[in-house]
């Protein structure tokens, strides 16, 4: 599988995403510079986490104007697989590839910790290696992860099974206490109507290796791989 990882100025999880796809899962990875306007030969594109353009304005608000975004839209329109993680999710929202916006966390603080998310829809190209309702432990690290949208849009994405992950307790209960950032309806990740663009705040690339004591996030990448009929090529030893 050929994966493209977009590098915006200020992206800082680009190496981590490339490491998971390449070193951990044995796929071919290409770094895509934000000024690139042509995308070819790719099966899937990752918009990684970080602080694109410093995010001194609203998160993702400047990155959406990067030259690469036009090509990315065209790629998505043709059905290409796109996953936006954390800042990548924020950029997808700003670019209109996914509905809704991100507000500051209710605590107003940056929060870095493990959270639990419930797989609300396991019949997608990003989650079909999970069970429906399965609870995954995946870390978050953000200051702006408080998802918000209007009631009509919310009704629409729920009815259409586009809500993919919701924050929950370790036992899988979706409760206010399990919501780390005030996100509407505990939403942690959503998909577009066509099912080829996913945005999620938690970082699956940080929980995809046994050496990091957590492999839950790997299921998302393995789902993407098997959507293309691929399997991981090699499992690398500890630390490698």
């Amino acid at each position: 599988m050929n994966i493209g990882v977009v590098v915006f100025p200020g992206s800082n999880c680009d190496h981590d995403c490339a490491y998971v796809f390449n070193d951990v899962l044995g796929q071919s990875v290409q770094m895509i510079w934000h000024k690139d306007t042509q995308l070819s030969g790719l099966d899937a594109i990752v918009l990684p986490g970080g602080f694109s353009y410093g995010d001194y304005l609203r998160t993702g608000a400047i990155a959406r104007f990067s030259p690469v975004m036009r090509a990315l839209k065209a790629f998505a329109d043709k059905g290409g697989l796109v996953i936006g993680i954390c800042n990548g999710f924020q950029i997808l929202l700003e670019a209109g590839l996914l509905p809704g916006v991100m507000l500051r966390n209710t605590s107003l603080n940056f929060i870095c910790k493990d959270v639990y998310v419930k797989v609300e829809n396991a019949a997608t190209r990003f989650t079909h290696r999970c069970e429906s309702g399965q609870v995954l432990k995946i870390p978050i690290a953000h200051a702006d992860g408080n998802y918000y949208t209007d009631p009509v849009t919310l009704g629409g994405i729920k009815a259409n099974a586009q809500v993919i992950f919701r924050y929950c307790t370790a036992e899988g209960n979706v409760t206010p206490a399990a919501n780390p950032n005030g996100s509407l309806d505990n939403i942690a990740g959503i998909m577009n109507a066509d099912g080829n663009v996913l945005g999620m705040m938690p970082h699956p690339e940080r929980s995809a290796e046994s050496v990091l004591s957590n492999e839950d996030g790997r299921l998302i990448f393995l789902s993407m791989l098997s959507a293309f009929g691929k399997s991981e090529i090699r499992a690398r030893p500890v630390g490698a």
Binding site: G54, V211, A240
Partner: protein, 748 residues
């Protein structure tokens, strides 16, 4: 050059003494102009020149088989095998953080990161050591929140994880908080870059942010003590831009991957002045700069302002002649300002021109290396004997051990720091195997089977009561933290925070502390490869406790052979390594329960320490240990409680029996005897492990078992058991410990 009349008032403003000024006259053979005076002021400041500390720092052990780069460069480097080096350093940003906590702390992080990637290393970890006053003070709460947010704001944006640290709260730091930041990077051993201006005719290239009027004389401010007017010094604090620094990092590493670079140095304290003269001085060359080519934020800046600005996120580089365009294109790719601003010369001088006219001309070595060195007088303070006197008989023994333990867990110094580290991205770069909350942070090293363990530590109260022992303990405890992760210590960086060196009692503390560091490093065979000295931590004539902060790096040969501090499994057997003595002096217990900070701190035997650590590392490497935790603040009872409640996946109880052996109960429970480690081991291996430990000549005992929903310590041989036994529900224990800091901040 314009003539200038240098008055005593001008010298005072530049923090130069009459004697220092006479030396400048001797060097130049004439009066300095305004720009030159400013350059001398910055470079000869305590912060840049180490003029009070240098003769003492020479005593520290800085060599060893793994040392690739010792002190004197931007950071130290030690060999970790596989063709790689760990590059690390610790630095203070105390003064600016008191004046403006968010930006002070943020730019502290920015500065240390530049020191690391200037060497060609990609930064992979940050840690910090913080000192504040008591949280009862609204101002202290403001400082804590500002400093934590500043560290988070900068480090998180850079994508370098903040993986650990420590915080102590004590009123002595109320007007002199300490913000010490440690950074570690990984470089290829054969691709270490140094700050040298080599090759006459090579271009000197400036890149990064533009130069503004911020931070002028920051180095001089950081070399002064404070009074009520401290807030007026706010304009000397710089403003950080982590986004630009991130671009700078990527651009540097991209340039370094090629072969066009000769030398590189960041513009930190004393800005362009220090980078230019230090690079030339190291190589015995000179540099000639045209200041009109320096990218500036605003017009009308004078040479003085350009040379002394401490605007952040700037670098100075010497490239190979003819390769300028390569450098420029990489910098442009990353949207950075870049300009060729001069050439390397053979004159040994820093020559500054403005539109071709010479505006300053100073020998590089004189600025960088010929600052006066002072052997300042030292004498023990008059109050030292009184401080050390502690009559144990006058102290009532503990009556309510449960209450005392809860009070200690509630002390912000001991309580969980989760409120702090959850604001730091501690996982980015996906190397963090052991997150904040254990004795040491552990990171795997990608591309190898190895891991590095990192720890920062210092007990300033011990150092106040006995600077020599306190400094020894700082080294020993840091190494012990690493040993508890199964790591062998391979290098040290230090950040020596003291008061006003012109006070003999402060110099006495400093000199003894350096002796202690020296002896401990030698005994534990670990070199000091980089460091920083922060003096004048004094406000209204009150100096901080001597606080020689230590950052230490340990190597784990097989990454999976590491353990954490928390108990793993019910049924495991708890062992205590080391001897417990009647060590109540200088303890957190004495401060919290008896409101005293006095006595002799615990004395440390370096041979015993070494034996305990070596034994622990060996057992962990053999896979015989389930968990290992160092006994420090709050003693054995607190250490055991932490083993029960500090794990990320829930709590586990313990049933412990301790023989009194004639000790006081408070000393047994809460005394801080050194060289002790709590291990838990599988029950079927307990006897064999115990025998191995004893064979190594290390005192050890089986003291209990892991399991249950309560934390219980029974004191054996105690006739008055009532009230003197610890028996607490785990949730009560955990809640007190976990909620202490949010509660103190009014946030729970």
């Amino acid at each position: 050059m314009k003539a200038l009349v240098i008055t005593p008032a001008i010298l005072e403003q530049h923090k130069l003494s009459e004697e220092e000024y006479r030396k400048i006259l001797g060097i130049l053979g004439r009066e300095p102009n305004w720009t030159e005076l400013g350059m001398f002021s910055a470079m000869w400041s305590e912060h840049c020149s180490y003029k009070s500390s240098r003769i003492h720092l020479k005593k520290l052990p800085t060599t060893g088989p793994r040392v690739v780069q010792g002190p004197g460069e931007n950071a130290g480097a030690v060999d970790i095998g596989d063709g790689l080096c760990a590059v690390f350093k610790m630095e203070s940003h105390n003064h600016p953080s008191f004046i403006e906590p968010y930006q002070g702390a943020a730019t502290g992080v920015g500065g240390i990161l530049r020191d690391i990637f200037t060497m060609g290393a990609r930064p992979i970890a940050l840690l910090n050591s913080l000192r504040f006053g008591g949280l009862e003070s609204a101002h202290t709460r403001h400082l804590l929140q500002g400093v934590v947010a500043g560290i988070a704001g900068y480090g998180n944006c850079m994508g370098v994880p903040t993986v650990g640290g420590e915080i102590v709260f004590n009123d002595i730091y109320a007007s002199n908080p300490l913000v010490n930041v440690f950074c570690l990077g990984i470089a290829k051993k054969d691709k270490i870059f140094l700050g040298k201006a080599a090759g006459v005719g090579n271009p000197v290239i400036y890149f990064g942010s533009k130069t503004g009027r911020d931070g002028i004389h920051g180095a001089t401010m950081a070399s002064d003590s404070f009074d009520e007017q401290a807030a007026q010094k706010r304009p000397t604090v710089q403003v950080g831009d982590p986004f630009t620094e991130k671009l700078l990092l990527e651009a540097c590493l991209e340039l370094m991957a090629g072969d066009c670079l000769v030398g590189i140095q960041d513009m930190g304290a004393a800005g362009l002045t220090s980078s230019a003269c230090e690079m030339a001085s190291r190589e015995g060359t000179g540099v000639e700069l045209e200041l009109t080519n320096v990218p500036r934020r605003e017009p009308g800046m004078t040479p003085y302002e350009i040379m002394l600005s401490e605007s952040q996120e700037r670098m100075l580089m010497v490239a190979k002649a003819g390769r300028e365009e390569e450098v420029i294109s990489v910098c442009r790719k990353w949207d950075l300002d870049v300009a060729v601003i001069g050439r390397v010369t053979d004159t040994g001088k820093v020559v500054l021109k403005e539109n071709g006219e010479v505006v300053a001309e100073v020998p590089a070595k004189a600025l960088a290396d010929e600052a006066p060195r002072y052997d300042r007088p030292s004498a023990p303070p008059a109050y030292q004997e009184m401080l050390q006197a502690l009559n144990h008989d006058a102290l009532p023994d503990v009556k309510d051990a449960n209450g005392a333990l809860l009070a200690l867990l509630d002390s912000p110094t001991i309580a969980s720091k989760r409120w702090v580290y959850e604001q730091y991205d501690h996982m980015v770069r996906t190397n963090t195997m052991v997150r904040p909350g254990s004795d040491a942070a552990v990171l795997r090293v990608k591309g190898t089977n190895k891991a590095l363990a990192l720890s920062v530590d210092c007990n300033g109260r011990y150092c106040l009561l006995n600077p020599y022992e306190g400094a020894k303990i700082a080294i020993a405890e840091c190494a012990r933290n690493l040993a508890c992760a199964g790591a062998e210590p391979i290098g040290v960086t230090d950040c020596l925070n003291f008061g006003n060196p012109q006070r003999p009692e402060v110099m006495w503390q400093f000199v003894l502390a350096v002796e202690g560091l020296k002896d401990a490093c030698e005994a534990l065979h670990v070199p000091i490869v980089s460091g920083n000295v922060s003096l004048y931590n004094e406000t209204n004539d009150l100096s901080i406790y001597p606080t020689p902060m230590i950052g230490m790096v340990g190597l784990i040969e097989e990454a999976e052979r590491t353990v954490t501090q928390w108990f793993q499994r019910a049924g495991d057997v708890i062992l205590l390594l080391g001897k417990t003595r009647e060590d109540l002096g200088g303890t957190e217990y004495l401060k919290v329960l008896h409101h005293r900070e006095q006595g002799s701190p615990p004395l440390l035997n370096l041979q015993d320490e070494q034996a305990v650590q070596a034994c622990t590392i060996r057992l962990i490497r053999a896979g015989l240990v389930q968990s290992a935790h160092d006994c420090s603040d709050g003693g054995l009872a607190v250490a055991l409680a932490e083993c029960c409640i500090s794990g990320p996946d829930g709590h586990v109880g313990a049933m412990v029996q301790l023989p009194l052996n004639g000790l006081r109960q408070d000393a047994l429970l809460f005394g801080e005897s050194q060289s002790r480690i709590v291990l838990s081991v599988k029950p079927e291996q307990a006897e064999a492990v115990l025998n191995q430990i004893r064979d190594a000549g290390v005192p050890a005992a089986k003291i209990g078992t892991v399991g249950g929903s309560r934390f219980v310590i029974r004191l054996e041989g105690d006739q008055r058991t009532e009230g003197c036994t610890v028996d607490l529900d785990l949730n009560v224990l955990h809640d007190r410990w976990a909620s202490a800091i949010p509660r103190a901040l009014g946030q729970n």
